[in-house]
Amino acid sequence: MLKSSLMNHALSIENLTKTYANGFQALKGVSLDVGEGDFYALLGPNGAGKSTTIGIISSLITKTSGRIRIFGHDIDEDFSAAKRLLGLVPQEFNFNVFEPVEEILVNQAGYFGIERKAAFARAEQALHQLGLWSKRREQARDLSGGMKRRLMIARALVHQPKLLILDEPTAGVDIEIRRSMWTYLRELNASGTTIILTTHYLEEAESLCRHIGIIDEGELIENSGMKQLLSQLHMETFVLDIREPVQALPPAITDCVRMIDDTTLEADISRGKSINFLFEALSQHRIEVLSMRNKTNRLEQLFVHMLENNAGNTATP
């Protein structure tokens, strides 16, 4: 009988460690819970341990120690039930490139014990949803990069998992396809599928995810809600494009505004402080603002700040 508290977690990781044969310690006791129905971002720099964590959850990497449960099912003791609930979209293409697209999905469904006729129906549904139906008879090697990414998502969904893990699903994909994938993932999450996403596009994580975990050097250094995390941001930097070139800034704003060039300004504004004073000062000096944008993505600012802090904390003198 599964404890009800565990059942509320789509994924529960306890003290996960991994030391590779060459002695490299990729994970140093990671523990985290992902709630059922969540859209969770797992972030970290290259080599931080994200893909190792995902590899262990999906049985592609052997853990050194620790415990993983998927909807309460231990992946060691009850691996059949645990795997049935999990769908994985790995970082690198791992399908047989010589097989036709539809066959890849039907075979995958077969590995989950789905009868062939039903597998074809599910493959059709998934291929329609991901815009690949017209390519169903083509060999996978003939697909474009974006189509291959979508094929991996379709394959991961063919057995209708309750937990979907995507390891950098939009890497190398153009912005149009990326946005259509976001829409699809939002719909999938809204329909009840728990999603865990790793990405280097922090805009993507901020836009899609409700909770976030940051791994650095094999340790989880942050695990909180996206809103709570972003509220830690004290300062935001805006870039302003102005119509006419200026030679100097109005004295009232020199403490928070810099000139990048004669038509571009940068302003540091504390969170919660009104931005009106800036426009008033600029208007008084007949400086007309054409456009304004965030200099960097908010999450990106925080992410870099946290990694710098972590590096400072772990650096040896």
Partner: protein, 257 residues
């Protein structure tokens, strides 16, 4: 997984494996047929006619069962070693590893693919051999059981080779340096009773000798080895290799980091 789901999954792997070698039949079925036809012509008809009889049979009749078995052995081995290593190399073995498939079922699926190719090639070579001689059928049950068990054994051996292999070169080493010499020395072309006593004893270390002789018994009713002993050796090796393959997959050797 329930039994029904396991059956569906097994069927899926077998279909996939059979389609794999059937799609490239020019590379998988035709070459052994051509090679064996050359053996029939050269060793059977041309040289064989000069040799006379062997164990009371025309030479070509004597070597045909061994040649069919040789094709079965090399092809069942080649099928699984290339398929499993290919899936490792291109990483689509991960499709199975992330699924709830038990390891024994993965082994059974690949082995069944190897058996299917071994049987397909064996049947094709047998049909071609009819152009050169008429095949006697002494005991059909022995023929079928020997060919199935032998192809199972070498499919398992191919799978283990693929697990250890780190490059495509590694999957050709065993067939070239182990399988081919053992097959040639396994009594395909001669009866070990022709050898000096010492070499007869040495030959008995070679497991392929037992398979070739059991298979020949099925066709001709003669064998250098007791049939019961042949079955025991073949089944013993199957169990040994199955245990090793299962251990390797469970520990993730060569397939998981």
């Amino acid at each position: 997984m329930t039994l029904t789901e396991q059956y569906i999954a097994f069927k899926g792997i077998v279909i996939k494996e059979v389609l794999r070698f059937a799609r490239i039949w020019v590379q998988t079925i035709v070459p052994p047929v051509i090679t064996m036809s050359l053996y029939f012509v050269i060793f059977g008809n041309l040289i064989g006619s000069q040799i006379g009889s062997m164990d009371g049979f025309r030479y070509i009749d004597y070597i045909v069962p061994g040649l069919i078995m040789m094709a079965v052995i090399t092809n069942s081995y080649a099928n699984v070693v290339s398929s499993f290593y290919g899936s490792k190399f291109h990483r689509h073995i991960e499709e199975m590893l992330v699924s709830p498939l038990p390891y024994w079922l993965i082994i059974l699926g690949f082995v069944s693919g190897g058996v299917a190719r071994g049987m397909a090639v064996g049947l094709a070579v047998s049909l071609v051999s009819l152009l050169f001689t008429h095949l006697a059928l002494h005991n059909l049950l022995v023929i079928v059981s020997t060919v199935v068990l032998t192809s199972m054994l070498f499919s398992l051996a191919g799978l283990i080779n693929a697990v250890f292999a780190k490059s495509f070169d590694d999957i050709s080493i065993v067939p070239t340096f182990v399988l081919t010499p053992l097959t040639y020395l396994g009594g395909v072309f001669y009866s070990i009773s022709m050898l000096p006593e010492f070499w007869q004893h040495v030959s008995r270390i070679n497991p392929i000798l037992y398979m070739v002789n059991a298979f020949r018994y099925g066709f001709l009713g003669v064998s250098d080895i007791d049939i019961g002993q042949s079955y025991a050796i073949i089944i013993g090796f199957i169990l040994l290799l199955y245990g090793l393959a299962l251990y390797l997959l469970k520990t993730g050797y060569g397939i998981r980091k």
